[in-house]
C-alpha cells in the first residue's frame, strides 16, 4: 500500500504525456514495420511469380511431339532453364492432357505429389526449405505435331521455387525498417518530451507564483504564459476568485478579532482596576464586599459582550452558509407583538407610545426567537432615540413576494456621515448615549446578519431632526415553494 501510494504521489502529467506519446509512436512504428514487411514480401513474391511463369514457359518449350505421328509428346531435357535462385534449385513437374505424366525436375522431392488441376499459387515447405509453387494448366505445347490431324495437347506445369532469398530479403528489409523506426522513435520521443516539458512550463510558473501568496499578500499575479493558455485560464481565474474570497473573509475575520479584542480591553481594564485598587491596602469587609460586587457587575458586562459577539458570529455564519435548522411557519405579526410587549416598560418609562399596524397574517418560515430579537433591537433603538412623549410606529405589510416591516421614530435622526456605518460591528454613532445604555455597538450588526440569514435585507433612512425609518424586507416564497434558506 505504502509503495503504491508513493508511486501515486510521484505520478506526473509530464510523464503521463510522454508515456502516451511513446505508446502511440510505438504502435505506429510496429504498424509501419508490419505493413512494410507485408508489402515487401508481396512485391518480392509477385516478382518471383512472374519469374516462375517465365521459367514454366521455358519448361513448356521443351515439350515436343513425337515423330511417330501418334500425337504424343515427350520432354526434351537437354535445354533446362537455370534456377531462379542459383543456390536453391527450382522444382517442376509437367503433365500432358493425353500423354499424362511427362517429367519432373531431377531432384524433385520424393513423395511430393501434385494432381493436375486449375492453376493456382501456394506455399509449401519441403525438407526445411520453404517453396512457392505455381500450377499452370492448359499451357499449349509450342511444338507442332507432324500429323496435322492430331489434336494438339495442352500441358499442366507445376513450378516451385524456394523462397529462401525472399525471406532473407524480407528480413533485411525488416531490419532496415526497424532500425530507421527506432531511430525516428527516439528522435520524436525526445522532441515530444521536450515540447511537453516546455508546454507544461506555464504550470510551473503559475505554481511558483501561487506559492508567493500568503496572508500578507493575497495578490496572485497570473504569469502571462499561463494566461495565454486556454486550459489554464479557468484555473487561474478560479484561483484569483478563490483568493479574493479568502482575502475578504480573512480580512473580515481579522477585523472582527481586532474589534473584539479592542472592545474586550475596556471591560477587562475596569475589572482589573477594580480588583487592583481593592488590593492596594487593607480594607474593611464592607469595602471588600462592595469591591467584589462591583467586580461581579464588571464581569457580567464582559459576559454580556461575549454573548453578543457569539450571537453575531452565529448569525453571520447563518447568513453566509445558510441555516441548517428546523424552522417553523410563524406569523410575523405575532413576533412583532411579542417584541412590542418586551419594550413596553422601557417605552412607558420614557413616556413613548408604540403603534403597531398590521394587515392580516404574514406567514414566514423562521425561528421566532430570531425575529423577536431583530424587532426588539430595532424597537429599543427607536424608543431610546425618541424624545420623551413621542411615538414609534411599527408597520407590517405584504408587498408581493416580500414582507415589509418598518420602524419609524421621531427622534434626532442619524447624521448622514454615520448612516452608512450604523450596521458595522462595534460602530457607535454617539458613544455617550450607547455607553449609557450598555450598548456594545453590536445590536444592529446582529440585526443585519439575522435578516440576511433569512435572505432578507435591511435599510435605514434618516432625516436629522425628524427621525429614522428602518425597513426590513423578508422574502416570502410563493405557495408552491416551501422553505427559505
Amino acid at each position: 500500500m505504502d509503495s503504491e501510494s508513493k508511486n501515486m504521489q510521484r505520478d506526473s502529467i509530464q510523464r503521463r504525456l510522454i508515456a502516451s506519446v511513446l505508446l502511440s509512436q510505438s504502435i505506429l512504428t510496429v504498424g509501419l514495420m508490419v505493413i512494410g514487411v507485408i508489402v515487401t514480401y508481396w512485391r518480392l513474391l509477385s516478382t518471383l511469380d512472374v519469374a516462375m511463369q517465365a521459367h514454366a514457359t521455358s519448361v513448356a518449350v521443351l515439350v515436343r511431339y513425337t515423330d511417330d505421328g501418334s500425337g504424343h509428346v515427350y520432354f526434351d531435357n537437354s535445354l533446362l532453364p537455370e534456377s531462379i535462385d542459383p543456390n536453391h534449385p527450382d522444382q517442376f513437374m509437367v503433365w500432358a492432357d493425353r500423354t499424362g505424366y511427362l517429367t519432373r525436375s531431377e531432384d524433385w522431392p520424393e513423395g511430393l505429389q501434385f494432381q493436375p488441376g486449375p492453376s493456382q499459387h501456394w506455399n509449401f515447405s519441403w525438407a526445411g526449405v520453404p517453396y512457392h509453387g505455381v500450377r499452370m494448366s492448359h499451357v499449349p505445347v509450342l511444338d507442332r505435331p507432324d500429323n496435322a490431324s492430331v489434336k494438339p495437347q495442352t500441358l499442366t506445369i507445376v513450378y516451385a521455387s524456394p523462397t529462401v532469398r525472399i525471406r532473407q530479403q524480407v528480413k533485411a528489409a525488416l531490419a532496415a525498417i526497424t532500425a530507421a523506426s527506432l531511430l525516428m522513435l527516439g528522435a520524436t520521443t525526445w522532441l515530444a518530451s521536450w515540447k511537453i516539458r516546455r508546454g507544461l512550463l506555464p504550470l510551473q510558473i503559475l505554481a511558483r507564483q501561487a506559492s508567493l501568496v500568503s496572508t500578507q499578500s493575497w495578490k496572485l499575479q497570473p504569469p502571462k504564459e499561463a494566461e495565454d493558455i486556454e486550459e489554464l485560464r479557468p484555473l487561474t481565474e478560479s484561483m484569483t476568485q478563490m483568493l479574493a474570497r479568502l482575502e475578504y473573509s480573512f480580512k473580515q475575520q481579522r477585523e472582527f478579532v481586532g474589534n473584539a479584542a479592542h472592545e474586550l480591553k475596556t471591560p477587562v481594564a475596569v475589572l482589573k482596576s477594580t480588583l487592583q485598587s481593592l488590593l492596594q491596602r487593607p480594607r474593611s469587609s464592607e469595602e471588600y464586599r462592595a469591591g467584589l460586587q462591583a467586580s461581579l457587575e464588571d464581569l457580567e458586562r464582559l459576559e454580556q459582550l461575549l454573548q453578543w459577539m457569539l450571537r453575531l458570529a452565529r448569525a453571520e455564519q447563518w447568513a453566509q452558509n445558510g441555516q441548517q435548522r428546523e424552522l417553523e411557519i410563524i406569523d410575523i405579526n405575532s413576533t412583532c407583538e411579542e417584541a412590542v410587549g418586551r419594550i413596553r416598560s422601557l417605552a412607558q418609562s420614557r413616556n413613548t407610545s408604540i403603534h403597531l399596524a398590521t394587515n392580516g397574517p404574514v406567514l414566514f418560515r423562521a425561528d421566532p426567537e430570531d425575529l423577536q430579537l431583530v424587532w426588539t433591537n430595532l424597537l429599543e433603538n427607536a424608543v431610546r432615540y425618541s424624545p420623551e412623549g413621542s411615538s414609534v410606529e411599527v408597520a407590517v405589510a405584504r408587498a408581493g413576494e416580500k414582507a415589509q416591516i418598518t420602524f419609524q421614530d421621531h427622534g434626532a435622526g442619524i447624521s448622514p456621515s454615520d448612516l452608512p456605518r450604523i450596521f458595522d460591528r462595534f460602530y457607535r454613532g454617539d458613544r455617550s448615549r450607547t455607553r449609557a445604555t450598555g450598548g456594545f455597538g453590536l445590536g444592529l450588526a446582529i440585526v443585519k446578519a439575522l435578516v440576511e440569514a433569512y435572505g432578507g435585507s435591511i435599510a435605514a433612512e434618516s432625516t436629522p431632526g425628524e427621525g429614522t425609518r428602518m425597513t426590513v424586507e423578508l422574502p416570502i416564497p410563493g405557495r408552491k415553494s416551501s422553505a427559505t434558506g
Binding site: 480591553k265 475596556t266 475596569v270 477594580t274 487592583q276 491596602r281 458613544r431 455617550s432
Partner: protein
C-alpha cells in the same frame, strides 16, 4: 498634586481616582466626557492629565490638541485600548507625554503618573533633596539631616508640592489648587495649619528655617 482623569468608563475612572488618592495622596478630578475634560483642563491647573482616547462629545485626540494649542505644559498620560504603532506615534506626536494600554496595571499607572509629575516639575530623581531635606516620592518618606520625620498625609502633600517648586514663591491659592480637587475653596483656611505643623516637625533639632512666609504672597521653600 492634582490630577485630572478624563475617562468615560465611569467605573474605571473611579478606580483610577481612588488609587491615585489612596496610594499617592493626589487630589483627583474626574471628567466623563471630552467637553467636561476640556472645561476642567482649561479652568484649573493640573500637575498631570490622564486621558482616555475614545470619549463621547469630544475625542481624546482633539482634547489633547486643544490643551496643547492653548499652551498648557501639563504632562498628559494617554490611556488607550489601541497599542498599534501608528496610533501610538499619532498620540505622542499630538502632544502626549506617555501612554498606557488598557487593561493596565494600577501600579504602573501610579509610577508613570509620578514620573510625569516629576519631569513636569523639572525633576529627574524620585528622591528630591533641598539642602539637608530629603523627600522620597516613592515611599512618601521625609528625612532631614538623616533623621526620619513623620508627617500626616496632608502635611506630606504640602511639602511634596513645595519641594517640587524649590526657591519659588507658592501662593496659598496655588497650594489649594494643587492639593484639593475642584472643591478646594472650602479648605482655604487649613493651609496655614499644615504649614505651621510642617515647620514645627522640620525644625526639630535644627535652627535653620526651611519654609519662609512672604506676607501677602505665599510660601517659599529654601535651602
Amino acid at each position: 498634586m492634582r490630577v485630572l482623569v478624563v475617562e468615560d468608563e465611569i467605573r474605571l475612572a473611579e478606580n483610577v481616582a481612588r488609587s491615585l488618592r489612596e496610594s499617592a495622596g493626589y487630589a483627583v478630578d474626574v471628567a466623563s466626557d471630552g467637553q467636561e475634560g476640556l472645561f476642567l483642563a482649561e479652568s484649573n491647573t493640573y500637575d498631570v492629565v490622564l486621558l482616555d482616547l475614545m470619549l463621547p462629545k469630544l475625542d481624546g485626540m482633539e482634547l489633547l490638541g486643544r490643551i496643547r494649542q492653548s499652551g498648557q505644559r501639563t504632562p498628559v498620560l494617554v490611556l488607550t485600548a489601541r497599542d498599534d504603532k501608528e496610533s501610538v506615534i499619532a498620540l505622542l506626536n499630538a502632544g502626549a507625554d506617555d501612554y498606557l494600554t488598557k487593561p493596565f496595571d494600577l501600579g504602573e499607572l501610579l509610577a508613570r503618573t509620578k514620573a510625569l509629575i516629576r519631569r513636569g516639575k523639572g525633576q529627574a530623581s524620585p528622591v528630591v533633596t533641598i539642602g539637608d531635606l530629603e523627600l522620597n516620592t516613592v515611599n512618601r518618606t521625609v528625612q532631614r539631616g538623616g533623621k526620619a520625620i513623620t508627617l500626616t498625609a496632608m502635611e506630606y502633600r504640602v511639602l511634596e508640592y513645595l519641594v517640587h517648586r524649590p526657591r519659588a514663591v507658592v501662593s496659598k491659592t496655588e497650594l489649594l489648587e494643587h492639593l484639593y480637587d475642584y472643591n478646594w475653596e472650602k479648605f482655604s483656611n487649613v493651609i496655614e495649619v499644615y504649614i505651621s505643623g510642617l515647620r514645627r516637625k522640620l525644625n526639630e533639632g535644627s535652627s535653620r528655617q526651611l519654609i519662609r512666609t512672604l506676607r501677602g504672597q505665599g510660601y517659599m521653600l529654601q535651602d
